[in-house]
């Protein structure tokens, strides 16, 4: 009996010998690409609208036809789970070669050493077609860690009929002032009947606050990488306070929508319950597809206070540092970024392409219909915002900012408390 026990113990310990504690990463055995064997690269796409999925797949198959040696395999990912998924994929050595995500989240992975530098691999045409401002959002430690593809701006969709009924003047200029916007919301809501001037899906408010906050000069952060400080002052508090005012003082913004997503608010807008709704530009797709006959909708000019600036937080394509063919993967990204290709994807998602040439293609193809002119025009106001360089931003967003903004919008805490929570919270997560 004794020796058998010893044997068993030995068997177990042999089996365990392979398992070290270290969390380092194996992977990366393939060596450089471009050899004789054709390589297959996995491209994890987050496209979710059917039109975009199709456009993306078309690009992939066109590429595969032209490049028999570097085959790209389309893999479907999802925006909801991409953060956890990338952490586990990188850690498990199973990350896709080409990764779609957004710039604000990529610096974390760059810091962990998981992303390849693309600066050497992208063509000059692609580099030149995108503004320096946008390139800055994907530069970390002097390395280009991603190619910016599509940008989202926040726009106001309006029900023309309800605006006119309430005697609201339809703005003609390039921008629309916040004061006029607020007045319009109040004017259109004065009817009781469970109808509101505005529905605003702020269930996940942080991105909106960071981006539209720039209208009021709210830049929140200063510095880069691990050395970033936060300052929540008057500029930062203006946007939350304005929204708060519309809910609790003006009664023009439906409080239920504050806990919903933008998509959840759309049905209410379609039914005429809200005269206006603030949405990511991509929701124009829902409108163009499922707006009922009688609904005359329009995209209002960009909102403006001190400026009309919004944060550029582009969707991105990156290459895993562990990919067996970084060069091939980067070449595919370059191909994806070609004006015609990017335009196809952008039109599928109703987002603004990062490349100006591509925007021209869209304007030409759509003739600016269905709000495209206003959406593309809003792209001119997109600039780099400091939060993108803050390494702990994703964690601060989830754990601190989102709950704090939600509590403030839910009228649970005061603006001062909001400022304190945002500031103290930053110090605790960025430790």
């Amino acid at each position: 009996m004794k020796h058998k026990l010893a044997l068993a113990a030995a068997a177990v310990s042999v089996a365990l010998a392979g398992c070290a504690t270290s969390t380092d990463n194996g992977g990366n055995e393939g060596g450089g690409g471009g050899g004789d064997e054709p390589v297959t690269l996995r491209f994890q796409s987050l496209a979710f609208q059917e039109t975009t999925i199709q456009a993306t797949k078309d690009i992939v198959s066109a590429w595969n036809e032209e490049n028999p040696d570097v085959q790209v395999e389309y893999v479907q990912g999802s925006w909801d789970s991409v953060q956890d998924q990338l952490v586990t994929q990188f850690q498990g050595g199973t990350a896709p070669d080409i990764i779609q995500y957004e710039s604000a989240a990529m610096s974390q992975f760059a810091e962990q050493g998981y992303l390849a530098d693309l600066s050497e691999h992208l063509s000059d045409e692609v580099m030149d077609a995108v503004s320096d401002d946008v390139w800055e959002t994907v530069t970390y430690d002097d390395q280009v860690i991603a190619a910016p593809t599509l940008l989202q701006s926040y726009v106001v969709f309006a029900n023309r009929q309800r605006l006119e009924q309430a005697g609201v003047e339809i703005p003609e200029g390039d921008t629309w002032s916040w004061d006029d916007f607020q007045a319009a919301a109040e004017a259109t809501s004065a009817g009781g009947n469970n109808k509101f001037g505005l529905g605003w899906g702020l269930g996940d408010p942080t991105a909106t606050m960071m981006s539209l906050g720039l209208n009021f000069g709210a830049d929140y952060f200063e510095g880069e990488g691990e050395d970033v400080s936060i300052d929540v002052g008057e500029a930062e508090l203006t946007l939350p306070e304005r929204i708060h005012e519309m809910v609790y003082d003006d009664g023009s913004l439906d409080p239920v929508t504050l806990t919903q997503s933008g998509g959840d608010v759309m049905p209410g807008f379609l039914k005429g319950r809200y005269a206006m709704t603030v949405q990511g530009s991509y929701n124009a797709q829902t409108l163009s597809e499922s707006a009922p006959e009688g609904l005359d909708w329009m995209v209002m000019p960009a909102l403006e206070a001190e400026s009309a600036a919004q944060a550029a937080n582009p969707q991105t394509l990156s290459v895993s540092a562990q990919s067996e063919d970084v060069e091939g993967a980067a070449a595919f990204i370059d191909y994806y970024m070609q004006p015609e290709n990017l335009a196809k994807v952008a039109m599928g998602d109703w987002l603004i392409p990062a490349s100006s040439e591509s925007a021209d293609v869209i304007l030409e193809e759509t003739g600016g219909e269905n709000g495209w002119d206003a959406i593309l025009a809003s792209g001119e106001h997109l600039t780099k915002a400091p939060f993108q360089s803050a390494l702990s931003y994703p964690q601060w967003k989830d754990q601190i900012a989102t709950p704090a903004f939600q509590r403030y919008l839910g009228d649970e805490i005061s603006a001062d408390e909001l400022a304190t929570q945002l500031t103290d919270g930053w110090e605790s997560v960025s430790r």
């Binding site: 398992c19 479907q76 925006w79 909801d80 789970s81």
Partner: protein, 280 residues
């Protein structure tokens, strides 16, 4: 408590209470069904009702097309069946050994059953992930199967030990006296008597594996390897798309196999086991 003397008033109260339970337990299920049968348009207009006015099956088509149900269903089935088979195969002899032999492993195993309940999965899952990575079993269905087996084993063992202990040793001894070998005794006397136990253990294993979420969430990343709970959880969020009908349809489809499995043995389970369980 069931003896006479129940006044009509008390009876009525009991029935009212029972009705309340039936509504609490059953209404959500019905609602799931009605939502699955209501068109996206009607749902967005807030026109869902318990009995759909114009039932439609379009959601089911949508669900299958959009939520990757077929592939995920196949993966779930493969993992659940494999995990069930392995769990039963491993726990049957082990439970016999633990029930019949005097070994220090008996208290150890029972202790482990309790410990494994108390420790949060999060504590296990990080190192498990790193270990599986060494064996190249991350993002693989065999890896997930192994994990399911390992985490169902303690409880299966516990269940099975009870069944083995319920078989009188005298039967085996009688067999031995008739000159039957150990193996023959096992195969022809013990295993047939253990059939209800095997069924119960298999049921438990299948449903546990079919429903399991956290391990799959951490271990599986490729879309072609996801299991049903995983694909459903991703379908929920699908970026602000209001697709409640398809979501409900997908959920229903995903529940059917374990419900069927469950219904098949439920009768035997409750009649056979419950009574057997209670008699001391």
């Amino acid at each position: 408590m069931s003896i006479g003397r129940t006044t009509p008033l008390a009876r009525t109260g009991q029935y009212l209470l029972l009705a309340a339970y039936v509504v609490f337990l059953g209404f959500p299920l019905l609602w799931l069904l009605s939502t699955a049968l209501t068109s996206t348009r009607d749902i967005s207009l807030g026109a869902t009702s318990l009995i759909p006015t114009s039932p439609t099956f379009e959601n089911f088509g949508d669900a299958v097309r959009r939520a990757n149900l077929v592939e995920a269903g196949r993966n779930s089935l493969v993992v659940a069946l494999a995990a069930t088979g392995i769990t039963v195969l491993l726990s049957l002899p082990a439970a016999y050994g633990l029930a019949r032999f005097r070994t220090f492993l008996r208290p150890v195993t029972l202790g482990w059953v309790l410990i494994s309940q108390v420790f949060p999965t999060i504590l296990v899952i990080i190192p498990l992930f790193l270990i599986l990575k060494q064996f190249r079993l991350v993002d693989s269905l065999p890896g997930l199967t192994i994990v399911h087996v390992v985490f169902m084993l303690p409880f299966s063992l516990w269940m099975m030990i009870g069944f083995v202990a319920n078989i009188p040793v005298d039967l085996e001894e009688a067999g031995a006296m008739d000159g039957a070998g150990r193996l023959r005794i096992l195969v022809s006397i013990v295993f047939p008597l253990l059939r209800p136990g095997v069924v119960a253990t298999a049921l438990f294993a299948f449903i546990s594996s079919w429903n399991e979420f956290l391990f799959a969430l951490v271990l599986i990343q490729s879309p072609e390897k996801v299991t049903l709970p995983l694909t459903l959880s991703r379908f929920v969020g699908a970026e602000g798309q209001v697709q409640l009908g398809a979501l409900a349809a997908a959920s229903l489809l995903a529940t059917i196999p374990s419900l069927v499995f469950f219904a098949l043995i439920q009768r035997r389970l409750t009649s056979g086991l419950l009574s057997g369980a209670v008699k001391g």
